[in-house]
């Protein structure tokens, strides 16, 4: 018997890398995922955002057939994760969020073991990745810090040369230099055409790496779209210095301009929505200076959560 018995020929499709329709996963009375629908395009870096307990890891584990969904339909690289599990796992590399590695093995031993299970590995690329991640593979895993263990898992994920990389909280415990190296590895993989499904609650990391994001809360998708689009939906702090007293009456009439403050000729507020009406109003005023803070994903994220609450 071959360990990969049942390995199907690869159906090459042009469909999405991941398609999730109505995914529900219950653990008894606990509803971990309450109906997720999303698609991840081939070749994109997809950010999967949400706080702990939002359902990110449960969704990922369903995609990998580690968990059996309560309801819903999943498709990964055109395959059914359960029926075509073997064929699929050969094309996907996974980095678990909760890392539990065999402590008595060395990094090299673990890489060799996974290599044998995957049917081989590129020794030159292994050494190259180890050097880039500043990782000593000769040490036992129990002797490594949590950050270095995560580097071992990162090395395994990027060594696999898979079509789809599923990374669950990949930079937990990594120092800033290694986080930067991780982002470089993500960009390189993307250039090779790899789809990357990046689960994280580190918003800055997703903001820098991802093309599109889904934001989860309590097992549901709160928002799904481009990073830029999500940022545009975020509130921005606006400050305007007028040559004279601010036109408070007109400013108060603008929709989406909340939390207004006036201090002499300085006007500040939080802008939710398009900035165009404000600019149109200011075009007819004597404005000395203006500051619009760049919204980041974190603000968008918090806004979504506040709105959902």
């Amino acid at each position: 018997m071959d360990a990969t018995e049942g390995h199907r020929s690869e159906p090459l499709t042009d469909g999405p890398a991941i398609r999730i329709e109505g995914l529900v996963k219950d653990y008894g009375l606990v509803h971990a995922v309450r109906g997720i629908d999303l698609e991840v395009r081939r070749g994109e870096v997809f950010g999967f955002l949400g706080p702990n307990g939002a359902g990110k890891t449960t969704t990922i584990r369903c995609l990998l057939d580690l968990l059996r969904p309560t309801a819903g339909r999943l498709e990964v690289l055109g395959l059914d994760p359960r029926r075509d599990a073997l064929a699929l796992r050969g094309r996907v590399a996974y980095m678990p969020g909760e890392l539990r590695l065999p402590e008595r093995m060395t990094g090299a031993g673990l890489v060799a073991a996974i290599g044998r299970l995957r049917g081989g590995l590129d020794a030159k690329r292994r050494d190259d990745l180890a050097a880039r991640l500043d990782l000593d593979l000769t040490r036992r895993l129990r002797d490594l810090s949590s950050g270095n263990r995560r580097k071992v898992a990162l090395l395994l994920a990027f060594l696999a040369d898979a079509e789809l990389l599923i990374l669950d909280e990949p930079t937990n415990g990594l120092d800033p230099l290694m986080q930067r190296e991780f982002l470089t590895l993500v960009r390189e993989a993307r250039q090779r055409g790899t789809t990357i499904f990046l689960s994280s609650h580190v918003l800055s990391e997703v903001q820098r790496a991802a093309d599109r994001v889904a934001v989860l809360r309590q097992g549901r998708v709160l928002a799904l779209g481009d990073v830029e689009e999500l940022r545009r939906r975020a509130r921005q702090r606006v400050e305007v210095w007028f040559a004279g007293p601010p036109p408070l009456g007109e400013l108060a009439g603008l929709s989406g301009l909340v939390d207004q403050h006036v201090e002499d000729h300085r006007f500040s507020a939080v802008l939710a929505g398009s900035i165009e009406p404000l600019l149109a109003l200011l075009a007819h005023q004597r404005v000395v200076s203006m500051l619009v803070e760049e919204p980041d994903l974190e603000e968008a994220f918090l806004d979504l959560y506040e709105a959902a609450s």
Binding site: H7, E98, P102, R116
Partner: protein, 268 residues
């Protein structure tokens, strides 16, 4: 054998070498230290007379009948309780550490997400568990036969071999049970309690049922009785005893695969 199978069997086999070494050392110490006292018993009619004066039910319960004979000494000193208990414990613990304990700690996730089937993954682990029990059986047998030679115990080597192999099969049966339980529920405490519970209960049945005329006919109803109920040191091993322990061991290990195919994998 493909590289995958080398890893599927070799990985868990390597992971258990320390435990196996510990059991081997324990077997050597137990057997050699027990057999070293044989010369003292062989020449001492006083000790055997004193033991023979114990109440018959006690002699039966603790396997002390004929303690002055080579077979009685081996049975009372090692093969009534100590060695089968060691093999039972080794079987349950090997099965638990290769499956439920690994899954419960979250260490399986990285391996199960590789391109191998769940059935192949756990078949490899079951083979590793049975392989170590085979190695331990060989170690115990070799040390026992060598000790018999060194301490001049006049006993038939074939009957000794049958006894040691039946103890090993008792361990394999309980390992199979542990593997089956682990595939239904990845809870180490469930595997341990099922394995040790069956071992302890079946020992009590073999040891205590003969004390009741009503229960005596049922003394070989449980695995401990299947293995040692026929007093293999005196009578040798019946073929059906090997089959009754060995076949269910494999079947139990196999049956659980179906359950494992259907259930969720636990994470940390």
């Amino acid at each position: 054998m493909s590289a995958r199978w080398v890893e599927l069997i070799g990985g868990p086999f390597r992971a258990s070498w320390r435990a196996a070494l510990g059991w081997s050392v324990a077997f050597v110490l137990l057997i050699v230290s027990t057999m070293a006292f044989w010369p003292a018993f062989r020449g001492s009619s006083g000790i055997t007379t004193a033991i023979d004066q114990l109440p018959a039910p006690l002699l039966t319960a603790f396997g002390l009948e004929g303690f002055g004979t080579p077979a009685g000494y081996l049975r009372g000193g090692l093969y009534e309780l100590v060695m089968p208990l060691c093999f039972a414990a080794a079987g349950v613990l090997f099965a638990n550490s290769a499956t439920a304990s690994e899954e419960d700690s979250g260490r399986l996730e990285l391996f199960v997400s590789q391109p191998v089937s769940r059935a192949a993954f756990f078949t490899g682990r079951a083979i590793a568990v049975f392989a170590w029990l085979g190695v331990l059986t060989m170690v115990a047998l070799a040390v026992q036969l060598a000790s018999d030679e060194v301490f001049a115990v006049p006993i038939d080597a074939g009957r000794v071999a049958a006894t040691v192999v039946l103890c090993g099969l008792l361990g394999a049966f309980l390992a199979g049970l542990g593997l089956a339980v682990a595939r239904f529920v990845a809870r180490p405490q469930m595997v341990l309690s099922a394995g040790f519970g069956i071992a302890y209960t079946s020992y009590l049945i073999l040891a205590l049922f003969p004390l009741s005329s009503l229960l005596a006919p049922w003394r070989e109803i449980a695995p401990w009785g299947w293995a040692l109920g026929g007093d293999p040191l005196v009578n040798g091993g019946d073929a059906w005893r090997y089959v009754l322990l060995g076949v269910p061991a494999v079947l139990l290990a196999a049956v659980g695969v179906l359950a494992f195919e259907r259930r969720d994998i636990r994470s940390a």
